[in-house]
Structure formats: C-alpha cells, structure tokens
Symmetry: C2
Subunit: 264 residues, 2 copies
C-alpha cells in the first residue's frame, strides 16, 4: 500500500526536524517579550516558525499557512498548513523537556498530515490520514482501557483572560481526578494528543485550544484508532471551537458525560 | 574530595538499577489488586521491593528499612532505608513513562543518600549529603528564577480518602496557575523533586505525601542548592507531615505565602 500524501509528509517531517534542531541547539533562550502570563514567546520560537514557513512555501506555494506567531487569519479553506513552531513554550523556557514542534496539513476532509517532534524527549510522532500514526517509526495504537474510572487522563489548564472559567474548570479536573486513575498536566497540547495516540493516557480534554496546538496531534489520535470530538453541545468542530475531547474511543462517553455536566 | 557514604551510594544505585531493569523489562504488567483508586499495586512493584530490600539487608544488615509495599512501621531511628520500588505506579500501569524507583538512606541528620532511577526516561538521579546531586553523572543545580510569578511549578493531586480537602487544594492549584507560568502534574513525587533539582521546574508542593515518595528526591533538591520545608505552620518536618515545599530557594517565600493563605 502506498502511503497517502508522501511529498507533504516528507516536507512536514523535514521542516519539523529542522525547527526542532534549531530549538534544541541553543539551550534555554532568553525571553524577548511576554504576551500574557504563561504565553511566552522567544526568539527561537519565531525563528523556527520562519524556517518552517519558508520550507513549506518552497514546496507548496499555493497552500495556505496558519502559524502561531504570525497568525493573521484563521481561514481553513482548501489546503492549509497549521504550524506551532514550539508547543509547550513555558516548559521550554524553564528547561522542562515537554515541548515540541507541531506541523499539520489540513484539507477539506480535515487533518491529512501531522508531525509532532519533541527533541528533548527523543520522540518524533507522525500520522497520515488513512496511513496510520507512528512514534519513531513504530505504529501507534490507542489504549484498550474500557471503563472511564480505570482511565488516566491528560488536560491543560486554561489560563488566558476570557478563555473559560478557571473555577468551574478546576472543579471538573477535581471530579475527573476523584473518579479515575488520575489526571496529568504536562504543558503541551500536541504531546498530550500524542500520548493518547501512544496509549500512555486514555483521553485528553481541554478548552481554549488554538488550531496549531492540536491539528497534528488530533490526526495522530484518529490514526491510532482513537476518537476526536468537540465538547457536548458544541456546534463547531474542535479545530474551530478550541474545545477538544480526544480519547481511545472506549472512555469517550464517560468523559463526555462528566465534561457535559461540568458546565464549562 | 572523597564522596561521603560511598558504599551506601553504590548499594543504593545498584539496587535501584536492578529494580528498574525488572520494572522496565516486562512491559506493562497486569494489575494484582487495587488499594484505593489510583493507588495501584502491581506484581512487579512488589517483586522490585523484595529485590531492593534483599540487597540492602545483605550489605547493611543492622539498618532499618521502610518500604512502600511492606511498610509496617514508620520509625526513623538510626540509619533507615526508605524505599519506593515504583513511584508513579498509575503512570506505569498505563504505559506513561513518568515512573521511577526511589531509594534513600536517612540518618539522624536527615537524608544522606538518594537515588531516583527512571528507566523509561533514561534518567538516573543521585545525591549524597554534602556531595552534590547528579543526573546521569552531570551535576545538578536548581533554577535561577527569582520571582514567584516567573516560576513554573509541580504538584500532585491529593486523591486518597481523608488526605486533605480536594476542593481547597484545587483552589490553591488554580491560584498558582493564575499567578505564574503554570503548574505541572506529572504523577511521580520523586521525579517532581528531581525536576526541581534539575532546574526544570522552580518548586514542587504537595500534601499527603509518604516518606518513600520523597526521601530521595528532597535530598536531590537540597544538594542541588534548593530549599525544602514543610507547609507554613507545620510543626513536623515534611518527611513526617507529608506536606512538602521544595524549591530553588528564591521562589520559596512567594509559594509559602500562597500555600499558607489557601488553608489546605
């Protein structure tokens, strides 16, 4: 069987690898400015983004590009590359190894190619629609945990002004913690999704997520046999609403119910 | 300069390495019983503990031993080894790589030797009182982050019956998240301490911690130049109270104030 999107996958992997090398080569960088609280931006972040964009434009000049640092429009029409040159920026700034480059190609049918490259963990994830998901070339499969209470979960903490209600959200987190094997907060949405795909956690839930945080990661989840939806009642898909449930499929309904009741 | 406790360090490292090999050799194990919610115990956990205890008894037959799975008494009189054969058990059971073996020797002056061996991360931390802390032989130093709001924090979620008030605790976590670069929840207290020692997070706070969770990790923090205390107002030291603040020293007072106000 031929893998779909071979040229796109090759470019995505190469661009992510170059950006990862740039990010991991210079040690912990200086801050250049603060956007808002934990939303830090570093010089290296912006340089990595320029590098990825340049490579994509060279190979696919007519594709659209949405990237975190230069995001001007959130149009996803036709083929669009969605780039986070450094997901887990706060971790990176502190020398915490949970940080990665995320590169995805989305078309009319949704995510088509996704690469999550975590240089400090030595892990490169990639997925292609219809072609499977892989960690360092090893095929990935979501976990087989069948009941919500037997699950381990990943989440992010919404911390930006105007994005959700922290108190309600932490009540939900406490609820999931109290009813399950636990909740992990690693600080990188892209890697949280990759962990679901790898079967290391059974589901990931978050709100206030930007498309570049999860476009690649969500493809890994579906290609590893998992399920991706918005939150209960949402009318928009998760890449637009920023409200994500990504699971092994089996614990999805359980988590949906808890999340729905939380009123977040 | 000669390193203090050379024989004890060698035995601790060897025992931890053997236990780590046992733990990482068999893939994800079956559960044998559930203690309470996320507090899972696996066969491999108990086998690893027997292995460590046997090695310590062979070399230091008159020392006391406190170990998680066979803990009968919490007497820390004279020289006592404090062992967690598998910290981060819930992670381990789910195939999440944040799990480790923790071996410490405590004497009248406190922790003397500490080893935290994380086989799935390829990281072995060790520390000796007066001899420094190391990650894979590289000397460790806590971070230089000087202000609380510029810090990244690690915590655990207290989940056992009767240990703290989850609602109050999550209010505290939300407060720290809202005022800082963020809070991480990795699921292994020993590794959280090791991350403070490595400068990857700026402080770790938790309640309801058992001595075997942190005896080795807290030595890593102090030997890397950090500071370890109980929570404000505590009359017992953290290894007895299970209430731990471990920081780079610089953000300690800021965190103490937030934690003190929380009333947890």
């Amino acid at each position: 069987m031929t893998v779909p999107f071979p040229a796109e996958l090759a470019v995505a992997r190469q661009a992510a690898a170059e950006a990862a090398a740039l990010i991991s080569g210079g040690g912990v960088p200086e801050l250049v400015r603060e956007k808002a609280r934990a939303d830090l931006v570093t010089e290296v972040d912006e340089a990595a983004e320029r590098l990825i964009i340049a490579r994509i434009r060279r190979h696919f000049p007519s594709d659209g590009i949405i990237a975190e640092e230069s995001a001007s429009r959130l149009e996803m029409q036709g083929r669009t590359w969605i780039i986070d040159p450094l997901d887990g920026t706060a971790n990176f700034v502190h020398g915490h190894p949970f940080a990665c480059v995320s590169v995805a190609l989305v078309d009319e049918e949704g995510p088509a190619v996704g690469v999550v490259h975590a240089p400090f963990l030595g892990e490169v994830y990639h997925g292609v629609r219809g072609g499977g998901a892989f960690l360092n070339e090893r095929p990935l499969k979501v976990s087989e945990v069948a009941s919500g209470p037997a699950g381990l979960y990943a989440t992010g903490f919404p911390f930006k002004e105007g994005k959700g209600d922290p108190e309600l959200y932490f009540r939900l987190v406490a609820e999931v913690v109290g009813r399950s094997h636990g909740v992990r907060r690693a600080g990188s949405a892209a890697l949280d999704c990759a962990y679901v795909a790898a079967g290391r956690v059974d589901a990931y839930f978050e709100i206030g997520v930007s498309p570049w945080d999860v476009a690649a990661g969500l493809l890994l989840v579906t290609e590893a046999g998992g399920r991706v939806t918005g939150w209960p009642g949402d009318t928009q898909p998760p890449l637009r609403s920023g409200r994500v449930l990504a699971s092994n499929g089996r614990v999805h309904a359980w988590l949906e119910e808890l999340v729905g009741r939380a009123g977040v």
